[in-house]
C-alpha cells in the first residue's frame, strides 16, 4: 500500500513492482503483486480503475490502484503496532 501511495496516480502493476524491487532489493513477481492487490481490494483498502489500452502492452489496459481511507487507517494502525513493539526493544537508537 505504501508503494501504491508513493506512486500516486502512476500506481499500476509494472510501476508498483519496480518500486517494490527498488525498495526491497530483491525480485518481486507480478503474481505476488496482483494477488496482494486483489486481497487488499477485496478488503476495501485499495480501489482500481482501468486506463486506456496501449500497443506496447498488446492492446491491454493498465489497471491503476489508489489507497482508500480504510487502507490508510490500516497503515496507521500497522505503524502504531510496529512502533509499540520497537519501543520494547532493548537496542538503543533503533526506534
Amino acid at each position: 500500500m505504501l508503494a501504491v501511495m508513493s506512486l500516486e496516480k502512476r500506481a499500476y502493476g509494472v510501476a508498483i513492482r519496480d518500486e517494490l524491487e527498488q525498495r526491497l532489493e530483491r525480485d518481486v513477481s507480478f503474481g505476488a503483486v496482483y494477488t496482494t492487490l486483489d486481497r487488499l481490494e477485496a478488503k476495501g483498502f485499495v480501489s482500481s480503475s482501468h486506463g486506456e489500452p496501449t500497443p506496447e502492452r498488446g492492446g491491454r489496459a493498465k489497471k491503476f490502484f489508489v489507497v482508500e481511507p480504510p487502507g490508510l487507517e490500516a497503515l496507521k494502525q500497522s505503524r502504531r503496532t510496529v512502533d509499540a513493539i520497537w519501543a520494547m526493544s532493548p537496542i538503543r537508537g533503533l526506534k
Binding site: S29, Y34, E41, A42, K43, F45, R57, R60, A74
Partner: protein, 228 residues
C-alpha cells in the same frame, strides 16, 4: 518500463497462462508482463526475456491457483472484509472452522459405525454393509454442509463416491476384485481430489464476473473492475 511496440511475448505462453489467471487480473497482468517483456527485449537478449516471461507467468498462475484454493476451502471472507479486521479475528474464524470439521467427522464416524454394525448384525455382511457405508457418507455430507464444514464435506463426498464405485466394481467383478490397500488408497484419493477440483472450479466460475451477454473468454477479460 520503456517498451517498444511490436515486440510481443510468445503467444503460446500467453495462451497457456491466460485461462488460469482470475478474469479481474488477467487483462492488466498480461499487459504488464507484455510491457516488461518488450522492455527486456529492447535490452537485447530475447532468450533471457522468454525465460523471464515463462518464470513470471508460471509464478502468476501459481499465485492465482493458491489464492483461489484458499478462497474455496476456507470460510467466506465476508467477516474479514470490514476495515477493522485483525489477525486475532481471522485466527478465530480458522479455529472455529477446524472445530466444525472435526465435529462433522466425529458425527460421520459415529453414524457410519452404527449403520454398519446394524447392517452386519441384522442383515448379514456385504453388500448391505457397503450400502450402510454409502448411507453414512451421505448423512456425513449433509451434516458437514449444515455445520458449514467445507473440507469435511468435500472429503466425505469423495469417500461416498469411492464407496459407490467400489460397490459397483465388486458387484460386477466379485468381492475379491480391486482389493489391496494401494488400490483402495488410489481410488479414494482420486474420488476426494475429483470432488475438491470440482468444488474449486465451481467456486472459480461462480466468482468469474462475466459481462452481460458476453461469452466466456476474451470478452470476459475486459470486464470492468468490481466496485468495492
Amino acid at each position: 518500463m520503456s517498451a517498444r511496440p511490436g515486440i510481443a511475448p510468445p503467444a503460446i505462453m500467453e495462451k497457456l497462462a491466460g485461462p488460469f489467471l482470475p478474469p479481474a487480473q488477467r487483462e492488466a497482468l498480461l499487459g504488464d508482463l507484455a510491457e516488461e517483456y518488450a522492455a527486456q527485449c529492447a535490452q537485447g537478449d530475447r532468450t533471457a526475456a522468454n525465460y523471464w516471461y515463462a518464470r513470471q507467468a508460471a509464478a502468476a498462475v501459481g499465485h492465482a491457483l493458491v489464492a483461489e484454493a484458499v478462497k474455496t476451502l476456507l470460510p467466506s471472507e465476508q467477516e474479514s472484509r470490514s476495515p477493522d479486521m485483525s489477525g486475532k479475528r481471522s485466527l478465530k474464524t480458522i479455529a472455529i472452522s477446524m472445530l466444525l470439521n472435526v465435529a462433522a467427522f466425529a458425527a460421520f464416524w459415529i453414524v457410519s459405525f452404527l449403520l454398519i454394525q446394524i447392517a452386519e448384525r441384522l442383515l448379514g455382511g456385504w453388500p448391505v454393509t457397503s450400502f450402510a457405508q454409502i448411507a453414512g457418507c451421505a448423512i456425513g455430507v449433509i451434516l458437514a454442509i449444515r455445520l458449514e464444514a467445507r473440507i469435511m464435506a468435500y472429503f466425505l463426498a469423495g469417500m461416498g463416491a469411492y464407496s459407490i464405485s467400489e460397490l459397483l466394481i465388486h458387484s460386477v467383478y466379485g468381492i475379491r476384485s480391486a482389493q489391496g490397500a494401494p488400490t483402495h488408497f488410489a481410488v479414494m484419493g482420486a474420488a476426494v481430489l475429483g470432488i475438491m477440483f470440482g468444488a474449486f472450479l465451481a467456486g472459480y466460475f461462480r466468482r468469474t464476473p462475466t459481462p452481460e451477454g458476453a461469452e466466456h473468454g476474451r470478452d470476459a477479460m475486459v470486464s470492468p473492475p468490481v466496485a468495492v
